[in-house]
């Protein structure tokens, strides 16, 4: 176990590199400013692009007149949806048809006939500088016919609600991944998901206490510091290059090619250094537009979003409506659990209801269970992944109800959780079977921690706990290793480094090859220079790209052994490799260190180089928990966090400092989501607070020291036992804070964010209700 305050290293293990804390390979580049981000990209003849965006949340485009903008001196190109081949006739999207996905991508980056949210792009301009481009936007005349807007999932789900997409019908599925069956019913509900087992009625009948509550959460944004930025160049030879800030270069290549109607192989995506993404930097918003402006102008075009554009026009996380009902016996055994969730998809289908549903009751053994999820379109930006997509919302509902249930039964909330905890062999809400996991160890660690054992005293103070679960998927990664003459190796991957993964992947290769982390030079390359690699998301890179690096390193080891065998004229099976030294089994005096052998490679048959993919079977389950103490000012509703301890089962922390960093960062974002962050809408339904001043992410002065505790229950799916640690830390904070506030004030907060005004109102209402009862 390691703690941030203690800074003790993990106990001695069989590993030499994994579990240590080397200096990151990209550290010097980043602290000296040598690292190149999207904004740093420059080239001779560069034009600057700007995008005209809809001021309305829902409107028909009657006409667009770009003639005045085109005549402005300095303007080199203007594009609208008509320039993109995905939908030249402007037909409505048929979501049941193949190809609907490309249509959605294309419509979302440039509206054809209808704008579906404030900030929806309608035209773009490239000019010799950004001021001229901005001026040109003002000269484009767009005639709109404003349409009624749907901004709330419950309104949008009503049978008589106006349809946002005329050809959208509801699909029904019982599978976390499949699309399910088309019900043929026209609706704003794109998907109805259902996980069900046992019999709810019987389960609730068996319960001594049942708690049921409704919850709502606001749309929130990932808040990455670096806005979207992309430069596109469409060469006269038809080859397209984009230099972009993304988590997902191969995804950008695929969607840019599809939107532009060109073969994928003609597009090269160069991922620049990234200034944060948190799941939100995966879609291609700017890349196809920059490329199309480049095609029309014959020059490279760079587009940089403003913060307002990032808030208005990129994918935030779903706002939601939830209802949770759980019953338990007197001695605290859960008998039945039911969860209803309706998520804002934004303007097009695709909210993370499956993630939310899968996470929901994951930490609890529940025989009688039903989870029903609805993916609902509304006139807001199309949502995107945000760190454990869909899971903080359901966790807020489930963990609040669990806490209240324990409170009503007079059982310690942690004991209640331990009593009902799932373990290996139990069923997940999705019906899958849990592999080995560390939930019980995590909950025991919370119980035995000094924080939990120290009583919290004083008025207006309360302690809240929550436990969060995430099932990490996975994907394909490629890796290449080239052995250098001096015995160091170059490690090449296509995984954008967003959380220190250059180093955490390099460490795994070093472990296999008996090298130091410093002997591996990791590089992230463009899409022409490495095998296909999935997105940097889903807590998968250290796991999947790590596996690819391990597989590649094993191949390097095999080739190096073969070379030693060749030098010593023995069969490869008679060469051992241990602690970085090759030894002939036949003649143990024949020894070569990795470095010595590397120096002889070119003279003995040429350099050693190897490439491999990972063959992922999925990362698997991961759990995190919080203990949070708060003090609430009852007169203002302001919450002060007195103490915060975050726990996580990391499987194996490859680089503990980075794992602690993920745990602290995710907790910080969860605290922001819980207490102040929200899309505050104007009367018309657009975002009113699209600046970092009024979209209140926590600053350093708003956060406590987040103490971290890492539990290491090895993941059998990975040779070093690691789990994907990037996302789950954001899951428990909203519920832990709600539970702490409930215990401090007596008032149950069921609405996120729990901003001071909302808490004050809830405390006043609770006081009034208590008075009436008396």
């Amino acid at each position: 176990m390691t703690t941030t305050s203690g800074r003790t290293n993990t106990p001695a293990t069989q590993y030499k590199v994994v579990g240590t804390r080397p200096i990151r390979h990209d550290g010097a580049d980043k602290v000296t400013g040598r690292a190149r981000y999207g904004l740093d990209f420059n080239v001779v003849g560069l034009l600057h692009g700007k995008i005209l965006r809809s001021p309305h949340v829902h409107a028909r485009i009657k006409s667009i007149d770009t003639s005045a903008a085109e005549k402005l001196p300095g303007v080199k190109a203007v594009v609208t949806a008509r320039d993109f081949p995905a939908n030249p006739k402007g037909q409505p999207i048929d979501f049941a048809e193949a190809g609907a996905d490309v249509r959605v991508l294309a419509e979302n980056i440039m509206a054809g006939r209808v704008v579906l949210y404030q900030g929806h792009a309608v035209a773009a301009v490239a000019a010799t500088n950004e001021h001229i481009a901005e001026e040109a936007l003002g000269l484009i005349k767009v005639e709109y016919e404003v349409l009624p807007a749907l901004l709330d999932v419950r309104e949008s789900m009503k049978p008589d609600a106006p349809l946002i997409h005329e050809k959208l019908t509801t699909f029904f599925t019982k599978d976390r991944q499949g699309r399910g069956e088309n019900t043929g019913v026209k609706s704003n509900i794109a998907t109805h998901l259902q996980f069900k087992r046992g019999d709810l009625a019987t389960g609730f009948k068996e319960a001594h206490v049942v708690v049921e509550r409704e919850f709502t959460t606001s749309m929130v944004h990932q808040g990455y510091i670096e806005p979207y930025v992309s430069t596109g160049q469409w060469g006269k030879d038809g080859r397209i290059t984009v230099w972009t800030s993304t988590q997902n270069p191969f995804g950008i290549r695929a969607s840019t090619a599809a939107i532009l109607g060109v073969p994928e192989s003609t597009v090269k995506v160069v991922s620049m250094e990234i200034g944060g993404g948190f799941g939100g930097k995966q879609p291609a918003y700017l890349d196809p537009v920059a490329a199309m402006l480049s095609k029309k102008s014959g020059r490279p075009v760079k587009i940089v979003m403003t913060r307002k554009e990032v808030f208005d026009s990129t994918g935030p996380a779903s706002g939601s409506y939830l209802r949770c009902k759980i019953g338990a016996t007197k001695d605290g055994r859960i008998t039945a659990a039911e969860l209803y969730l309706a998520y804002e998809a934004g303007a097009f289908p695709g909210s993370p209801i499956a993630g939310g549903a899968m996470s929901s009751f994951g930490p609890y053994k529940v025989e009688n269970m039903m989870v029903e999820g609805y993916d609902v379109v509304v006139n807001k930006p199309k949502v995107q992944a945000y760190r454990a997509p869909g899971q903080p919302q359901t966790n807020f509902a489930v963990e609040s109800v669990v806490d209240e249930l324990a409170q009503k039964l007079g059982i310690d909330p942690l004991e209640f959780r331990i009593k009902n905890a799932t373990d290996e062999g139990d069923l997940m809400p999705s019906g899958m079977v849990f592999p080995p996991m560390g939930l019980k160890q995590l909950e025991e660690a919370m119980k035995n921690h000094d924080h939990y054992k120290t009583p919290l005293t004083g008025p207006n103070r309360g302690r809240g706990i929550a436990v969060g679960y995430r099932f990490n998927g996975g994907g394909v990664s490629s890796a290449t290793i080239n052995v250098n003459d001096d015995g160091t190796v170059a490690l090449v991957t296509g995984s954008v480094d967003i959380g220190g993964t250059r180093t955490s992947v390099a460490m795994q290769a070093a472990e296999v090859l008996g090298l130091r982390a410093e002997d591996v030079t990791p590089t992230v390359v463009d899409t022409d220079s490495i095998g296909w690699t999935g997105t940097t998301a889903g807590s998968r890179v250290t796991f999947d790209t790590g596996l690819a690096a391990i597989t590649t390193a094993e191949e390097v080891k095999r080739l190096m052994i073969a070379r030693a065998a060749k030098i010593w004229e023995v069969p490869p099976a008679e060469v051992a490799f241990k602690d970085g030294v090759f030894t002939s089994l036949k003649n143990p005096n024949d020894k070569l260190t990795f470095k010595q052998l590397a120096a002889r490679l070119r003279a003995t048959g040429g350099p050693v180089t190897a490439s491999a993919i990972n063959g992922s079977t999925g990362v698997g389950p991961i759990f995190a928990g919080n203990i949070i103490d708060v003090e609430v000012d009852p007169e203002t509703g302001k919450v002060q966090i007195l103490r915060c301890t975050a726990f996580m089962d990391a499987g194996k922390a490859v680089h503990p400092s980075y794992v602690e960093g993920q745990l602290q960062g995710g907790t910080a974002q969860g605290i922001g989501w819980a207490l102040n962050e929200e899309y505050f809408l104007t009367k018309e339904g657009g975002m009113a607070n699209s600046t970092f001043l009024d979209y209140r992410m926590p600053t350093a002065l708003d956060l406590p020291l987040i103490d971290t505790v890492l539990i290491e229950v090895p993941n059998p799916r990975h040779p070093f036992g690691l789990r994907g640690v990037g996302e789950v830390p954001i899951v428990p904070p909203p519920a832990a804070l709600a539970n702490a506030i409930a215990r401090a004030t007596g008032a149950r907060l069921t609405k996120l964010p729990m901003k001071p005004g909302t808490i004050w109102e809830a405390v006043e209402a609770h006081k009034a209700a208590t008075k009436t009862k008396k």
Binding site: H131, N676, D694, T699, L701, P756, G757, W760
Partner: protein
């Protein structure tokens, strides 16, 4: 961002000349922490000339004497004010506000003069100055000068009563009377980089025995179109004993005077409620300071 001319004025006369010539088309800039952001956001489309006043000596004056009190030049950045030993000792109420505007980085540039002339109802810098009886020194065409009580400078959100060609040179804050104290409190969800949901500046003077209010001034932020002096709150204090009842009456008067709006920063009900809470707390803080504890 729109194109504009930049003039670095070296004298009051030069700055007044540019203002007179361009009228609405000219805007003064000290730290630029408001006006540059507004220009970038296209919120001041009429501005064609920015006049930088940081180079004018008089606007950088920060001085104190027992006769006229504290002079704060209009371009003096916040950090100079809250780091000044005399201000810390005699005017802690001004330190309260100067040290919470924006962030540490912003306080290195932003001036109280700019905060005043930007004239937002939520400005933190203004209420304690009004509460302490600050007077504006205003220069105009033909070397004219006039003085105006600060509370009379505001005409509405973002608007002042300054006439064409006029500029703020400095504010003068009278020497604090014996047994007096002041405090400014604001409420924000975040602890830094935030705009007041409501704010209250209070200044009071006690009798020699420190058990009765001689006088008091209460000024509200973010709950009216302008920074709002509440005379009724002062009347509720004058001549009354220092106790919770008196403080409560003053707070009630402040709540009654507040005319907030509902927006993304808070509702009408919540803001009025906060005015009551903050008035009580600011008065208590001011009393503590008057008592020297």
């Amino acid at each position: 961002m729109q194109a504009f001319e930049y003039v670095s004025a070296k004298s009051v006369g030069e700055a007044v000349g540019v203002l007179s010539q361009h009228g609405e088309g000219a805007r003064l800039m000290a730290g630029g922490t408001d006006v540059l952001v507004q220009l970038r956001a296209g919120r001041r489309p009429q501005v064609k000339v920015l006049v930088d006043v940081k180079g004018i000596g008089e606007l950088n004056e920060l001085s104190y004497n027992d006769r006229q009190g504290l002079i704060i030049g209009a371009a003096v950045p916040c950090y100079r004010i809250y780091e000044d030993p005399t201000v810390i000792k005699r005017y802690p109420g001004i330190v309260d506000s100067a040290s919470i505007i924006g962030s540490v980085q912003i306080q290195g540039r932003a001036s109280l003069g700019g905060n005043i002339c930007n004239a937002t109802p939520s400005a933190d810098g203004i209420p304690p100055l009004i509460a302490l009886g600050a007077v504006c020194i205003i220069a105009g065409p033909n070397n004219s000068r006039r003085e105006l009580p600060l509370e009379q400078l505001f005409a509405g959100p973002g608007r002042t009563t300054l006439q064409n060609g006029e500029m703020l040179i400095s504010v003068r804050v009278p020497p604090p009377p014996a047994n007096s104290g002041a405090q400014y409190l604001r409420f924000t969800p975040r602890n830094e980089m935030d705009i007041a949901v409501a704010g209250v500046g209070a200044a009071i003077t006690l009798n020699a025995a420190k058990n009765t209010f001689v006088s008091g001034r209460v000024v509200l932020a973010a709950v009216a179109p302008i920074p709002l002096l509440v005379p009724a709150a002062g009347q509720a204090l004058a001549g009354k004993p220092v106790n919770d009842e008196t403080i409560g009456k003053a707070a009630e008067a402040a709540v009654a005077a507040a005319v907030p709006i509902t927006d993304m920063r808070g509702t009408i009900e919540y803001r009025k409620h906060l005015v009551g809470v903050l008035t009580r707390r600011a008065l208590q803080g001011a009393i503590q300071r008057a008592k020297g504890v």
